[in-house]
Structures are given as C-alpha cells and as structure tokens.
C-alpha cells in the first residue's frame, strides 16, 4: 500500500465504521424500546444497511490489498475546517441563548474578519447591513418575530 493511499483508506474506513456504529446503536435502541410492530420496518432498513456497510468495508479492505483505495476525502486544512464548524456551533448556541439580533452581527463580523480574512471595516459594514435587512424583512415586513433567545425571554 502506497503512503499516499493510507490516509485516504483510513478516512474511508473511519467513515464506514462510524456509520456502522450509528446503525447498530439505532437498531439496538429500536429492539430494546419498541414493540415488534413499531420496530419491524426500522429494523428491516437497519439490517439491509448493515449488510451494505459490511460490503463497503470489504471493498475498502480489498482496495487496500490492491493499492487502489476508494475515494474517501477531499484535501482540507483541518484547523480551518474546525474553525468554520466551531463558528457555526457558536452561532447556533448564541442564537439559542441571546437571540438572532444580537448574535448575527457578532457572528458575521467574527467570521468575515477571522475566517474570511477581510478588513474589520468591511466585516462590520456587512454585519450591520445583513442584520438590518433581516430585521426589516422578517420582523417589520412579514411580522415574523425573530427569536430573542432563552436568556432574553424567548
């Protein structure tokens, strides 16, 4: 196995094994908590999926022997990837805690400045304009109340 294929194969294996773990946990939950009629179709789907996943794992294993790992992942910068995902987690947490109107400009400014690498002035301008447009469209024009966050009465 070439060195170049090893990470790709490991990624493919990790992905398939994670899905397999999810499916097994799902089936175990269904088996333990549901009556036979309710779990019949979900378990049927689970059994078929486990079979398919075993085939996929065999395929990955065979590909390892033949030096031709199945496609697994795009080249990415892990630190940047984690920063983007962390920013979305922070946005959702902020949305839930303090509401859209407060978290939106903060998220936009931080993302555009820190992840996008743009100037602070541009980040602030876009954050202000987007928040104003969203407030005008949803709260004023459509009368749809924007979530104020559970800490502020939501």
């Amino acid at each position: 196995v070439s060195a170049g294929n090893a990470p790709s194969r490991r990624s493919a294996l990790t992905a398939a094994a994670t899905i397999l773990a999810f499916v097994i946990a799902y089936m175990a939950t269904g088996y333990l908590t549901l009556d036979p009629a309710s779990r019949a179709v979900p378990l049927l789907a689970g059994v078929v999926t486990v079979g398919l996943l075993l085939l996929e794992l065999m395929r990955i294993g065979r590909a390892a022997d033949s030096n031709a790992a199945p496609s697994a992942s795009r080249a990415t910068a892990p630190s940047r990837e984690w920063r983007v995902i962390a920013s979305i987690v922070a946005l959702v947490a902020g949305f839930y805690l303090v509401g859209i109107v407060i978290v939106l400009p903060l998220y936009l400014t931080a993302s555009i400045r820190l992840i996008g690498g743009k100037s602070l002035r541009l980040a602030l301008a876009i954050a202000a304009a987007t928040t104003a447009a969203i407030y005008a469209a949803f709260e004023l024009a459509l009368s749809l109340r924007l979530f104020p966050g559970i800490l502020l009465g939501g």
Binding site: S11, A12, A15, I19, F22, V23, T29, G30, L34, D35, S38, R39, V41, P42, A45, G46, V48, T49, L52, L53, E56, R59, R62, A63, D65, S66, P70, S71, A72, S73, R74, T76, A77, R80, E81, V84, I85, S87, I88, L91, V92, F95, Y96, Y107, L108, S111, I112, I115, G116, G117, K118, L122, I126, T130, I134, F138, L142, L144, R145, F147
Partner: protein, 502 residues
C-alpha cells in the same frame, strides 16, 4: 370546455386580477429565493388576505405565488447551492457546478425557458385529463404507494453508478432517520431521544437547507475562493445560450414535464421526488450519464421542467379528492375551503371556470417570473464572484434565520446546522447526499403503505403484485437495480480475473 377556458382567460386578463397575479409572482420569487421560506410559507402568510377577495383574484394571486416560487428557488440553487425550495434541490446538482464554471447566467437562462415550458405542458395535460382524474388517482392504493416510494428511492440511490454502494447505504440511513417520530401503526414515538421537537419526525426543509446550502457554504469557507472557481472567466452573459440549449433539448423538457405531471399527481409524494426522478431519468437516458453532476445543462432543464409541470399534476388529487399532493397544496386547500369550495369530483363541474383560471394563472406566473428572472440575471450572477469569506457566513446566517421563520421553532435552526455539518462530512468523505433527502421524503409514505398493504393482504406479500400498476412498479424497481448492479458486478468479475480489484 373551450368556451369556459376562454371565459377563464378573460377573467385573468382583467387589470385587477392581473395586478394580483403580478403581486403573487413577486412574492413567490422573493419567498423562493430565500432558502427555507418557499411557497408554502408565502401562501400561509397571505391566506388571511384572500378572505375579502374575489375567488378569481385569490386564485390569480395563489397561482402567481405557486408558479413563481420555483424560479426563485432555482436561482438560489444555482448561485449558492442553497435550494430556495425543496423541489429546487435537484437543480443544485448541475446548476451549481455550472455557476462554479462561470456559467450561472446560462443555467438561469435554461431555467427561465424550461420552467414555463414545463408549466405549459402541465397545463395542457391537466386540461386533457380532468375528465379522467378520478380513475388515475384511484390507480394508487397502499401497495402502489409503497412500491412507488421504493422505486423513487432505488432510482435515486443507483443514479450514481460509480458510487452505487454508498448511495444505497445513504438511502438506508436516510430511511432510518425518516422513521424518527410518530409511528404510523401504533402512534407511539420512536427514536426521538427524549426531545419533543422530534415527535413529528425530522422536518424536511431545515434538513435540506443544511444538507445543500450550509454544507456547500462550509466547504466554500474551508477551501476559500468564490463560488465561480475562476472569477476572471465568470461569464455574466450566456442567457441566450441557456434558452437555446433548452429548445435544443426539447426531449429532456418533455420527459421532465411528463415525470413532473405524473409524480405531482400522486398524493403525498410531492414535487421533491418529481424533480429528482426527472433528473435521474434525464441522466439515464443520456449517452454519457457519468458527466451529470459536472455542469450539464440537461441536469438543469429536466428538474426545472418537472418543477413547474408538477403543480398542475398536484392540482388533480387536491381538487378531485381534497388530498393535497404537496404541503403547498395543503395550504391551498385551506384557501379553497375559506372561499366556500368543497373539493371533490363535483369541483370540476361546479367550479370549472375558476379552476381553469387558476391553471392559466399558474402558467402565466411561470412566464412572468422567467421574464423578471432574466431581467435581473446579470446582477444575480454577480453573487458567484463574491469572495467565499464574505458570502459563506452571510448565506449561512440568512439560511438559519429563514429556517427559523418557517415555524418559529429554535429546534429547526439546530437541525439545519446539524445537517449542514453532516452534509459537509458527506461531501468530504464522498457519500452522495441525494438518497438521504429522498429517503427522508419517502420514508413515512413507504412505511405507512407497507403496513396498510400487509393488512389488506392479510400478511401475504403477494399483495404487492396483484394489480397491473404494482406489477409495472415492481418491474421498474428490478430494472433500476439491474441497470446499475449488473455492469458493476461485471466490472468486478473482470477485474478479479485480471488480478486486480475494481
């Protein structure tokens, strides 16, 4: 019939009715463009407004919304890979790669031509089959619904022959996720993890916004650049090329329209399945199916023709039986009742003129929306040149706010974010996202159909091959699986014989 049709056209041509139609078109375009909102929300918000209106004016406004929302949804699907409406998700598959290649205007041109053509086809078909509506809808019972769901799922999962196994795995996982929430047999709650939010299952629109719009924006943030990979070559012209391509691929338009009208007419299946099956049909009929997903114009034309044709199809069960073919139609049903109309076979006798008016409004709306879309295509295509560092967080934020606006549930925002990360991981690990969407749409239909069919058949599986419609559907499923599996097995055997592994 012709006299009534002319009278209905005269009703719609009145200036006041046209004004309501135009208003509906603008609202439909705006609600279509914003990911998460869509025609259902627009109709629901404007429902009380129709109360004091004349029936024809109300129908013109609703027709304007329903006819235009598809165009709006496709614009954001092409430019941002964030489908404004669920059925527009299929347009992402080749529309977004076209935008990445700097051919956004060409893709929007194709949408602008294919949408009204699909709408026109749907209208003509609807007018022709109105007298047969009852017989067509009655062809589908529980066994047929189950088989149709399986067929929809299989045809999408095997669409990517190179990734067949992963497509089927994703379909299986998608089905398992579709079973979250109320059990259609016993009414108990399953797999809800103790959360009230999941009692009604995983809602489709937040999942779609996450899987397509957010996932792609996360990828854009991670990789940097802009939507159009080479902004220097991003062409803001090409609208006419898109229009000409649509006319040249008239067979794709007709195939997509037929699929849209037929699937749209099946209650509970809806437009999302119609557009994806239209896409798969176009792909399978093409001599180079492997190039779909890389920016083929046919991959935009087929779902777009289907997207507008499906509205006319969905009117059949809504008006004939009061069974809405989609969420949009369910809200429209409320508008019918609000105006004192009782859906049923007598609708076609008692309110023929109003129904024809609605169908004409739907088609006119698609044409007007296309003209408006084309007028602004150059400014819209600029979006593909905006740096990802600015565009991605803005789209993610607007998508999440739009998702919240659907039902004002914070849980929708969390779900969209979860599916956004999931969609990104699927992109990263090369797992197709389409089968997951279709499984989420069809899971409940499949399970309910299965249980009802087994009750009808008293536990015997022969219930699935008792009617001619069932037999046709079973054959279609077998052909779909065989079409992809046999060449794969043949390649695998050939590779094993030559000492390698496929």
């Amino acid at each position: 019939m012709l006299t009534t049709l002319v009278q209905a056209a005269g009703d719609i041509a009145a200036w006041q009715t046209l004004a309501f139609l135009m208003f509906g078109v603008v609202v439909g375009l705006v609600f279509g463009v914003i990911p998460g909102l869509g025609g259902t929300t627009a109709l629901a918000i404007l429902l009380p407004l129709t109360f004091g209106m004349d029936v024809i004016d109300a129908f013109a406004m609703c027709g304007g919304i329903m006819g235009a929302v598809a165009m709006g949804g496709s614009i954001s699907a092409i430019l941002l890979n964030a489908p404004g409406t669920a059925p527009s998700a299929a347009t992402c598959l080749d529309g977004y790669p076209m935008a990445q290649q700097g051919r956004a205007a060409e893709a929007i041109g194709a949408v602008a031509m294919a949408s009204p053509l699909g709408g026109l086809f749907g209208m003509i078909t609807l007018l022709l089959v109105f007298p047969l509506a009852r017989d067509i809808v009655l062809l589908f019972g529980p066994p047929e619904f189950f088989l149709l769901a399986v067929f929809g799922l299989v045809s999408i999962a095997v669409a990517d022959a190179a990734n067949l196994l992963r497509g089927l795995i994703v379909a299986g996982v998608g089905l398992m996720l579709a079973f979250v929430g109320y059990d259609p047999v016993n009414g108990g709650v399953r797999f809800a993890l103790g959360s009230d939010y999941l009692w009604d299952g995983i809602p489709l629109v937040p999942a779609l916004v996450g899987l397509f719009g957010m996932a792609e924006m996360i990828a854009l943030s991670v990789h940097g650049g802009s939507v159009a990979a080479d902004t220097g070559s991003a062409r803001l012209s090409g609208v006419m090329t898109g229009i000409r391509s649509t006319l040249r691929h008239w067979r794709v338009v007709i195939r997509g329209s037929i699929v849209g009208t037929l699937i749209g007419a099946v209650p509970g299946v809806g437009g999302t399945v119609a557009t994806f099956i239209a896409y798969t049909t176009a792909r399978k009929a093409d001599p180079h199916p492997e190039t779909f997903g890389t920016g083929r114009i046919e991959g935009v034309i087929a779902p777009e023709a289907s997207n507008n044709a499906k509205d006319s199809g969905a009117l059949l069960p809504t008006l004939a039986f009061g069974i809405p073919g989609s969420a949009e139609m369910a809200v429209f049903l409320g508008i019918l009742v609000l105006h004192g109309m009782q859906p049923g076979p007598m609708m076609f006798v008692e309110h023929q003129r109003e129904i024809y008016g609605l169908v004409i409004a739907l088609t006119l709306a698609a044409i007007i929306a296309s003209v408006i879309g084309l007028t602004f295509v150059r400014s819209l295509a600029w979006i593909t040149r905006v740096p990802g560092g600015v565009l991605a967080p803005t789209v993610i934020a607007v998508s999440l706010v739009g998702t919240f606006a659907i039902d004002s549930r914070p849980g929708d925002v969390v779900l969209a974010a979860v599916f956004g990360v999931l969609g990104y991981l699927m992109l990263r690990f090369d797992y197709p996202r389409l089968p997951l969407v279709i499984a989420l749409v069809l899971g409940e239909t499949a399970e309910r159909g299965f249980h009802q069919a087994m009750i009808i058949g008293r536990g015997s599986w022969s219930v699935f091959v008792q009617s001619p419609t069932s037999v046709v559907l079973v054959a279609l499923i077998a052909v779909s699986l065989g079409w992809s599996a046999v060449p794969m097995l043949r390649r695998s055997l050939a590779a094993r014989r030559s000492g390698g592994i496929s």
